[in-house]
C-alpha cells in the first residue's frame, strides 16, 4: 500500500503539537507557579520554560533517534540523523503515522519528552538549585525518558510483550511521578512545607490551558483526524470532568467545603489517568477511571503523603504518578477492540486476563527503573553540583536570590 500525506491528518497533528507545547509553556508553568510562595513564582515558571527549551534542542540531536530509530535488542534505538539531517529535506512520511510527515511525528513526540521532564519540577520547587536542574534535564532525558519511551513506543521489549500506553500513562506520568519521588527523597523537606497558594488565578489559567492542550496530547496521539481521535477526545473530557466532581465530593466529605484547587487537582487526576487509556476505552469506562483515580489521588495527597512525610511540593507523585499507574492498569481492564481496531486483545471486561498482566509488568518495570535511575542521577548531581540551594536563599525566596528578579511590583 503506498501511503500519501493527508492534509487533514497533518492539520490536526500540527495543531495538536502546538497544543502540547502550550501545556508546558505556559500551562504547566502557570499551574505550578500559582501554588507556591510568591517569592518563588519566577523560579517555578522558569523551570518549565528552560526545560522545554533544552529538550526542544536535544530531542533533535539524539532523543528522537534513540527512541524511534531501529531498535537494538528491545532496549534502545540508534542515532542515525543527528540534527535531523536530511529528514526535513526528504519530506518522508512517518513510519508509525503514514499519513503525516516524519518531521511532524518527531516534533509531536518531542512535546511529550519536554512536558515529562517539566512535570517533575513541581516536586522540587522552592529549594532546588537552578544549575542542578539545568544539569538534571539532559541527563534524565537521556537515561530515563529515552529508554522508557523506546520500550513502550519505539518498539522496545515492553511494546513487544504487548504493553499498551496510548498517550503516556507510563511514559509520561508514571516516569515523572516516580522521578519526582526519588528526587524529593534526596532533596529533603522544605523549611516551610505548607501548601498556601499565592495566586490561585495562575493555577486556574494553567489548569485551563492544560485541559485544552490535553486534547492535543490524547486525541493527537491518534496521529490522525478520524474516529480514534474523536473517541479519545470524548473520553478525555469526561474523565477530567468526573475527576473534578470526585475531588469536590471528597473535599465536601473530608473537610466540609468544596475547594477550587481541589476541583483543578481532580481534573488533572482525571486527565492523567485517562491518558494511557484514551484510545482504548468507551465513555462508561472513562467515567469510572476519572472518578476512581481522583479519589485515590485525593487520599495519596492528603493522607499518605503527610503520613510518609516526604515533601513532594505540588504532588507530582501523588497525582501524576498515581494516576499514571491507575490509568495503565485500567487499560488492562477496560480496553475494547471495538474502540481501537489496532488492539489485538481487549481488557478484563472482554474476558481477557492477559492484558492486565502485561500492563502490571510494564508498570513495575518502569517504576523500578525510573526510580532507581533517578536516584542515581540525583545522587551524583548532589555530590558534584549540590542539589539544594542555600538555606538563606530558600528562606528569602529564589527569585531575588537566584535570578535577581521579582514577580510582583504591585505597591
Amino acid at each position: 500500500m503506498t501511503t500519501i500525506l493527508d492534509s487533514g491528518d497533518t492539520a490536526w497533528m500540527l495543531i495538536s503539537t502546538a497544543l502540547v507545547i502550550l501545556m508546558t509553556i505556559p500551562g504547566l508553568a502557570l499551574f505550578y507557579s500559582g501554588l507556591i510562595r510568591k517569592q518563588n513564582v519566577l523560579n517555578t515558571m522558569f523551570l518549565s520554560f528552560i526545560t522545554f527549551a533544552i529538550v526542544s534542542v536535544l530531542w533533535f540531536v539524539f532523543g528522537y533517534d534513540l527512541v524511534f530509530n531501529s531498535d537494538i535488542m528491545g532496549i534502545i534505538g540508534t542515532i542515525k540523523n543527528p540534527f535531523f539531517n536530511g529528514v526535513l529535506e526528504s519530506g518522508s512520511l512517518a513510519t508509525l503515522a503514514p499519513t503525516i510527515p516524519t518531521g511532524l511525528f518527531a516534533l509531536f513526540q518531542m512535546t511529550f519528552a519536554a512536558i515529562t521532564v517539566a512535570l517533575i519540577s513541581g516536586a522540587i520547587v522552592e529549594r532546588m538549585k537552578f544549575s542542578a536542574w539545568l544539569a538534571f534535564v539532559p541527563v534524565w532525558l537521556l537515561l530515563v525518558y529515552v529508554p522508557v519511551a523506546h520500550w513502550m513506543w519505539g518498539g522496545g521489549f515492553l511494546a513487544q510483550l504487548g504493553a499498551l500506553d496510548f498517550a503516556g500513562g507510563i511514559v509520561v506520568h508514571l516516569t515523572s511521578g516516580i522521578a519526582a519521588l526519588a528526587l524529593v527523597l534526596l532533596l529533603g523537606v522544605r523549611k516551610d512545607m505548607r501548601l498556601l497558594p499565592h495566586n490561585l488565578g495562575y493555577s486556574v489559567i494553567g489548569a485551563g490551558l492544560l485541559w485544552f492542550g490535553w486534547f492535543g496530547f490524547n486525541a493527537g496521539s491518534a496521529l490522525s483526524a478520524g474516529n480514534l481521535a474523536v473517541s479519545a477526545m470524548i473520553v478525555t473530557n469526561i474523565s477530567a470532568a468526573m475527576g473534578m466532581l470526585a475531588w469536590v465530593l471528597m473535599d465536601k466529605l473530608n473537610t466540609g467545603k468544596p475547594t477550587l484547587l481541589g476541583a483543578l487537582s481532580g481534573a488533572i487526576a482525571g486527565l492523567a489517568s485517562i491518558t494511557p487509556a484514551a484510545g482504548y476505552v468507551n465513555i462508561p469506562a472513562a467515567i469510572i477511571i476519572g472518578f476512581v483515580a481522583s479519589i485515590v489521588s485525593y487520599y495519596a495527597v492528603s493522607k499518605i503523603k503527610p503520613w510518609l512525610g516526604y515533601d513532594d511540593a505540588l504532588d507530582v507523585f501523588g497525582i501524576h504518578g498515581v494516576c499514571g499507574i491507575l490509568g495503565s492498569l485500567a487499560v488492562g481492564i477496560f480496553a475494547l477492540p471495538a474502540i481501537n481496531s489496532a488492539l489485538t486483545q481487549g481488557g478484563l471486561i472482554t474476558g481477557n486476563l492477559n492484558l492486565i498482566g502485561v500492563q502490571l509488568l510494564a508498570v513495575i518495570v518502569v517504576m523500578v527503573y525510573a526510580f532507581g535511575m533517578t536516584l542515581i542521577i540525583g545522587k551524583v548531581l548532589d555530590k558534584t553540583l549540590g542539589l539544594r540551594v542555600e538555606a538563606e536563599d530558600e528562606v528569602q525566596g529564589l527569585d531575588v536570590n537566584l535570578h535577581e528578579e521579582s514577580g510582583y511590583r504591585l505597591s
Binding site: R194, L195, L196, P197, M250, D251, N254, T255, K257, T259, L261, G262, S265, Y298, V301, S302, K303, P306, D315
Partner: protein, 112 residues
Amino acid sequence: MKKIIAIIRPDRFEVVKAALEKSGVNGMTVQDVKGRGRQLGITESYRGTDYTVDLLPKVRLEIVINTNDLEKVITVISENARTGDIGDGKIFISPVEEVIRIRTGEKGNEAI
C-alpha cells in the same frame, strides 16, 4: 492634638468611614493590615489539608484630630465598628506634638 489608631474589621470600614464623614471628620489615612489577638484564626484548606491562618485581615485607620474632638471620634468609631464578636478591634490614642500641612505650611490645629 491626638492620634487615633483604630484597627477594625474590613467589612465595617465603609460604615465607619461614612459615620466619620457625617460627624465632620474627613481626614484619615487608611491601610490594610493583618492582626491577631483573641480572635481565633480562620481555616483554609488546600488539597485536603487544613491550615489555620492566625493573622486576619484588618483595616487600620490613622486619624489625627484636635484634642477636643477626641471623645466624639472614639464614640463614632466604636459604635460603628462594633459587631459584638471577638475581633472587633482596638483603638489606640497617642499624643501628637505637631501637625504640618505640606501644601500651605500651616501648623497645629489649623493643619489638621
